[in-house]
Amino acid sequence: MLEQIKQLFDESTDLFTETLDNGYWPMEIAYFPAMCDERIKDGILIPYSYRFDPDEFRRMLHSNPKYERADNPDEWPNLLLKGYALIKLEETCYSFKSDRTLYTQPDETQLESSLQGPQSAFTEDLELNAYLLRKRYNVPTLSVEPYEKGSLSRTAIFVVYDRKLVNPSVLELLRKRLDKVNIELLQSTGQLIKELTDKNHLFFPTLLQSERPDKVAVMLSRGKVAVLINGSRFALLLPVRLFDFMHAMDDDYESFWISRFLIVMRYVAVLLTIVLPAAYIGIVSYNPEIFRIQLAFTIDGSRAGVPYPSFIEVFIMLFMIEALIEASIRLPKSVGSAATTVGGLILGQAAQQAGLVSSIMIIVTSVVAISNYVIPNHTFSQAIRLMKYWFILISMIYGVSGIAVLFFALIVYLCHLRSFGEPYLAFYGGQNDQKPQSAQRKS
């Protein structure tokens, strides 16, 4: 066995291969020390060395679920790479599961933090994620289908769903698409999203990423399917509607009126962030009569020194704010606040005083930037962030009426989108959303 393995892992010096001998049985052993944890000592080395008892050792080999027969030499490299130890005793090979896991407790939510909801988030370890999910969605009907994707990374994937509630056609479609996945290194859910969506250049995400186990549990109860990926702290949810992206878990936890208020505010914010810069151009350059007369004169006065047409002004400010946002992701935390102060406050103030932009434009930019972060889902927020540029382009050419027409076109586009066969802009979840209530009543 060792010869074969050494041939396969030529020059892999971190592979440990040795023939041990306790004076009774010789044993060939091979494993990657970096990928295995301390369990190898208790599981193999101690029973083999000073506590050795041939009968007991044999019993252990047959009864301990961590030991498995590994007769097929083709599987050996795979097992070794997954953190198993291979041993060969009396001409039979066994594998011993001893993979190292770095994660022993759930992560803290980072992107979808909630005030009073659960604070735990998925980790980068698949097993722990499955545990987190089972803990929250504690029913025997929760099914897990394992997959392995990525020709180089060989990433483990769990497809999780409640088999009583799931829509079989969605599941069928998912399986088909998963079969087609052709990728070398699968490292994040984002890659899988690209592989799973049929069209590549969509403006809106049709799959939802979430780091919150409670959100995934709620979605499972609505008959949705979750896809967990080893090494990614996000779960994929499908099929989803646009309104799922606008839903924060706090909406379920807060009192009725507060959550309604927050939801309405969120949609207003989305509308503002999409339309406001475009509306600024449209109103300032095409239809100033939409403003109240005071505002028209104030803007007129503050724009008097601005040398460029309104859309250049908008592009200057939006470039600054986008650069600022992008920079603040990369900046180290200690410098971050300084950069935002310089960028946001000083630069904005200076740009206005220098007469490069009007004072109203500073307000427009800030409203756009703030409103964009009201959206609870990061992917969706990015999509919206991009959307406003279409509106700016169209308002440069057609003014306010262009914005109205494009908004209509946007709604048409959203209606045309499908998420795993389900309509994207459905107001009510259709079959899937009503199912859980009836199913719960039955059980």
Binding site: I293, F297, S302, Y398
Partner: protein, 367 residues
């Protein structure tokens, strides 16, 4: 993929083509000259019209008395021509989007009004909620005034009308849409508030109303009558009824007004105007008439009825119908086109009855 690219290409082509075809719709706000008020006067020659534009010079600083405006006036055969000529006098594109006040000079209205109104209707950039008024003695003089309290160009005149700024019972508000409707509608006639320059040359004096029939100016009311008209026709709440009872001035501040018009059947219909007004005594000696409110009410009612009746007869005799009695009559009585002819012949001799019900809700915060 190719077809998709084609579609995108065609889209951008169409967009750019329509951009060229669209002409110069794109014009930044600071390249526009906002017209805040417009005046129409007769020209020096008979075939000319004098158009006066009050143009706003905006500033980012808004302070009372700091508002700057520019006045441009020009005579031309038509308004449209005058506007085009004025465009050559100014450095920025004229924008009528914020033209909220349109003033007709008194003389224009005496000559006839329809032609000049036409232009305002056809232009889509003139808002139909613009206020219309009659300027006395002429529009140019009134527009020249720059009140001290003006915060931004034209704001003083705009705030005077409508319910945005001051709400005076002497100021009637007439919008462009209502004005054109009244010019076209059978059985109702237009009215215009009369804007004059105050004696101290620092504010506008708007306390009269002018009545026009379909052709020209017919009647101007004085301030007291204007208020009566505002109460009885417009049901204006924030007004007062002032009647001397036994030589003691009594003033009732109204809080609600309701009116109802009845027509009697007959060859010459008689009109009964029922009016119910509630309010509070603002001026009255304490323990007046032993504090018997009903007696005071009845005395106010009687005097008020007389005042309104006199006003109605005065308006009737001028041959105008700003109350819209004719329209009301036509709409409530079944009949053919002869009905209107009958009404027209009957109107000069028609009889009015005013039956008011005054309710003193409270006597104010007095012991």
């Amino acid at each position: 993929m190719i077809s998709k690219r084609k579609i995108i290409g065609v889209f951008f082509l169409l967009a750019s083509v329509t951009l060229i075809l669209g002409g110069c719709g794109f014009k930044d706000i600071d390249k526009r000259f906002f017209v805040v008020a417009m005046g129409i006067d007769p020209g020096t020659r008979k075939d000319l019209i004098k158009v006066t534009l009050r143009l706003a010079i905006p500033s980012s600083k808004i302070e009372s008395g700091e508002a700057k405006t520019e006045l441009e006036s020009l005579e031309a055969p038509t308004i449209a021509e005058a506007i085009r000529r004025i465009k050559s006098l100014v450095d920025k594109e004229l924008d009528f989007g914020h033209c909220r006040v349109i003033l007709f000079g008194k003389e224009t209205l005496e000559n006839g009004v329809r032609e000049s109104t036409n232009w305002f209707l056809r232009r889509r950039d003139i808002q139909m909620v613009a206020y219309v008024g009659m300027a006395e003695p002429n529009a140019t003089d009134v527009l020249q005034l720059k009140p001290q309290s003006e915060r931004y160009p034209g704001n003083s005149l705009i705030l005077s009308f409508g319910s945005e700024g001051t709400e005076s019972s002497f100021i009637l508000t007439e919008y462009l849409f209502d004005w054109t409707r009244r010019l076209a509608e059978t059985g109702t006639d237009g009215f215009l508030p009369v804007v004059r320059v105050d004696k101290d040359k620092n504010s506008y004096q708007i306390d009269k109303v002018a009545f026009l029939d379909k052709q020209k100016l017919r009647l101007c009311l004085n301030a007291t009558e204007t208020q009566l008209f505002n109460i009885s026709a417009k049901k204006f709440r924030k007004s007062i009824i002032s009647v001397p009872i036994e030589n003691v001035p009594i003033v009732l501040a109204l809080s609600s007004v309701r009116t109802h018009i009845d027509y009697s059947k007959g060859e010459i219909p008689e009109i009964t105007l029922r009016l119910r007004a509630t309010g509070m005594l603002e001026e009255s000696p304490s323990k007046f008439l032993n504090g018997n409110n009903r007696v005071i009410e009845q005395k106010i009612e009687k005097a008020f009825n007389d005042q309104v009746e006199t006003l109605l007869y005065k308006i009737r005799d001028a041959g105008v119908d700003p109350y819209g009695f004719g329209l009301h009559y036509l709409s409530t009585y079944f009949g053919d086109h002869k009905m209107w002819e009958r009404w027209k012949s009957a109107y000069p001799t028609i009889k009015f009855h005013v039956k008011s019900r005054i309710v003193i809700e409270e006597t104010g915060l007095v012991e």
